[in-house]
């Protein structure tokens, strides 16, 4: 993207921020809190407050403002508070970084679907790196399995389940295919597959995670701007600001957001103590979470965990603004497509084939 366009977009975002972020949102959040308080007072006031010190969320945390609106001093304070709490809770020294977004970088991702063998190591690596809840299990990457080729054009399938053509009369009304069986598409994609070994002869695998859209529907849908684009193009969430309304989950066409319905369970020994405020710090109940291209790693120069775990090297990651980067070379030399391109979300996640 050209520098001018980026700038104009940033200005636009700032303007939006002035209208909504600085003024109205704060006001509406406060109103919301007050209403909640009034409503709650009548019902669940006293018993709900019992809590252990290790897990308790401090008042300071409850009342902190949106991360983007905090002053540096407030950020430092908030981070120190979190580090102390996580260190105590998980029994190991935990850091919550606030590494700034590197300049002149727009992160992009390319995935070779001709290579993917569907082994789900990326999924497990993501869970381990990003401190996802183990029970209820939350996974940010979903690997879809599809039948290779398309046999639904077979005559037998064409008329399967459709009404007898006599009953429609002979008016050229198309029959064949129905709600349960598409014609012309293999249609079914499942992610609960469990074969003995992968790759299977008759399957292709299609991993889906957050596409880090240039024009993200989830950001538009968030009523409190708890989710937003960072300067590197990654869509992040301020977990403390999220009110858990799940509007973003509904808006996302890629099924990329996960909601913490229960108290996340993260065993102490499995917890990754190197975290980032906007990335993999442990989440709480009632908030949304999603892939951030391992923000805590990529802002420090490392590949995301899924890239490092992929045993066949199907995953490529780099700076879209650098023509020498791996992703740019993929875009220049391979057959590339974007998922659900018709939605004009402009993902920075590309699928390619050799």
């Amino acid at each position: 993207m050209s520098e001018d366009k980026r700038k104009s977009e940033m200005v636009k975002e700032q303007d939006d921020g002035k209208e909504q972020g600085n003024g109205k949102v704060k006001e509406s959040r406060r109103d919301f809190l007050k209403k909640m308080g009034v409503a709650a007072a009548a019902t669940v006031a006293a018993p709900a407050i019992t809590s252990t010190t290790a897990e308790a969320v401090s008042l300071g945390e409850t009342f902190q403002t949106h991360f983007e609106l905090m002053s540096d001093a407030q950020k430092e304070k908030a981070i120190a508070r979190l580090e102390k709490r996580y260190t105590e809770q998980f029994g190991k020294q935990t850091t919550v970084a606030n590494t700034p977004a590197p300049d002149g970088v727009l992160f992009g991702y390319a995935l070779n679907i001709a290579k993917c063998i569907g082994c789900r190591r990326c999924v497990e690596a993501c869970v381990k790196e990003n401190n996802q809840s183990r029970d209820p299990a939350i996974q940010w990457i979903r690997v879809l399995r599809m039948e290779r080729g398309n046999d639904t054009f077979e005559l037998e399938n064409l008329h399967k389940g459709s009404p007898d053509s006599n009953s429609l009369g002979d008016y050229g009304i198309q029959s064949g295919g129905h709600a349960d069986k598409h014609v012309g598409l293999s249609g079914a994609a499942e992610h609960y597959y469990e074969p003995e070994q992968v790759p299977e002869d008759n399957a292709i695998y299609f991993p889906v995670q957050c596409h880090q859209c240039e024009d993200p529907p989830c950001v538009k849908a968030c009523p409190v701007r708890a989710t937003f684009r960072d300067p590197n193009g990654i869509v992040v969430i301020d977990y403390n600001w999220c009110i858990g309304c799940r509007m973003c989950q509904l808006a996302c066409p890629y099924w990329a957001r996960r909601f913490n319905w229960g108290e996340p369970e993260l065993p102490n020994e499995d917890m990754n103590p190197k975290t980032h405020y906007l990335g993999n710090r442990p989440r709480m109940r009632g908030v949304m979470e999603k892939c951030t291209f391992c923000l805590q790693r990529v802002r420090e120069g490392r590949y995301p965990a899924c890239v490092e775990a992929c045993p066949v090297g199907a995953r490529k990651f780099g700076n879209l603004l650098d023509p020498e980067s791996e992703v740019r070379k993929v875009l220049a030399t391979k057959k590339v497509f974007r998922f659900k391109e018709a939605f004009n979300t402009d993902p920075k996640f590309f699928y390619y084939m050799d």
């Binding site: 308080g37 010190t53 009342f63 082994c119 499942e190 120069g301 890239v307 791996e326």
Partner: protein
């Protein structure tokens, strides 16, 4: 937990405290905690006070000090190719292991130290493109050492195979008396469709090394030079980073571990399988209340 604090706090607020005209949310929280004396809000108040007074207090270093006695073994890429032992305390401050292994498949899932056991890759043959500068920081994991262990000995190949004059060796496919675990039927070698034979890649004059098309000796660590002499397009993609796996830094010119051809592909069976089939990690949990049978029904009807 947050909700609990919300509810508890506002129970108090509605009980009589003023919360109008908040000067700032942080400040308001402190005001409230100073005034609140009810038992109900005591826990929350203590938290806030502790937070504000001792936020920067040094945290106890509770990282495990002793390495794990039962070292986990996991494999990278394809099983039987490269094994790794889990070592704890790679960065003692946080207690990172160098790798984390999958409990179900035994595969490496997570690299705390992406350069564990690597060494600089060295000079790359020039190829007429502009990517040569990217090799300066490239590292690989040496393979020669590993080959000794997969044949279950600590001997080099030359112990059994003294050097021979390539001219005197029959370069025709014949039944092998040994190494049938590597090539089960040499008449049906799954590489090169019958056009090549062992000594086209293995150096007859020195069995501890490979040989390229020009008869030049090539180390097992640099097997890509041999592979690339036939598979030029893939070699070119690999040099650019479009083919094959890399770990480390994403920056162009950053320090990266390059995975060589034989770390992902078994050259003796590559025609049968591009990648050796492996066991996948377990699928995600089904939605609550959904049984395996429900799901199977849904799949038949093309649902997702």
């Amino acid at each position: 937990m947050r909700a609990a604090v919300f509810y508890g706090l506002f129970a108090v607020v509605t009980g009589g405290l003023l919360l109008q005209n908040m000067p700032g949310e942080e400040a308001a929280a402190q005001d409230v905690t100073q005034e609140v004396t009810q038992d109900a809000a005591q826990d929350a108040a203590q938290d806030a006070v502790q937070d504000d007074s001792s936020a920067v207090q040094a945290a106890p270093d509770t990282a495990p000090a002793t390495p794990d006695a039962t070292a986990e073994e996991c494999f990278e890429s394809i099983k039987g190719t490269t094994e790794l032992s889990k070592k704890n305390n790679v960065v003692p401050k946080y207690g990172y292991p160098n790798v984390k292994c999958s409990p179900t498949t035994g595969a490496v899932l997570w690299y705390g130290d992406p350069y564990d056991g690597t060494e600089p890759m060295g000079e790359m043959p020039s190829y007429g493109d502009k990517t040569d500068g990217d090799f300066a920081e490239a590292v690989i994991r040496p393979r020669a050492e590993h080959l000794k262990t997969i044949i279950q000995t600590n001997m080099q190949c030359s112990v059994c195979h003294p050097s021979a004059d390539p001219a005197t060796l029959p370069n025709d496919p014949r039944q092998l008396m040994m190494h049938q675990d590597i090539v089960s039927d040499p008449q049906n070698l799954q590489h090169g469709r019958g056009a090549i034979w062992c000594f086209d890649c293995h150096n007859a004059a020195n069995r501890d090394a490979l040989v390229d098309q020009q008869g030049q000796e090539v180390s097992f660590d640099a097997s890509y030079k041999v592979c690339g002499s036939c598979h030029g397009d893939l070699y070119s993609d690999w040099r650019m980073g479009l083919h094959g796996k890399r770990t480390g830094e994403w920056k162009v010119g950053g320090k990266k571990r390059w995975w060589t051809c034989t770390e992902c592909h078994n050259p003796h069976t590559v025609q049968e399988h591009r990648f050796q089939p492996i066991k996948p990690e377990p699928p995600p949990a089904l939605p609550r209340g959904m049984s395996e049978d429900d799901f199977k029904g849904a799949d038949e009807h093309g649902g997702h």
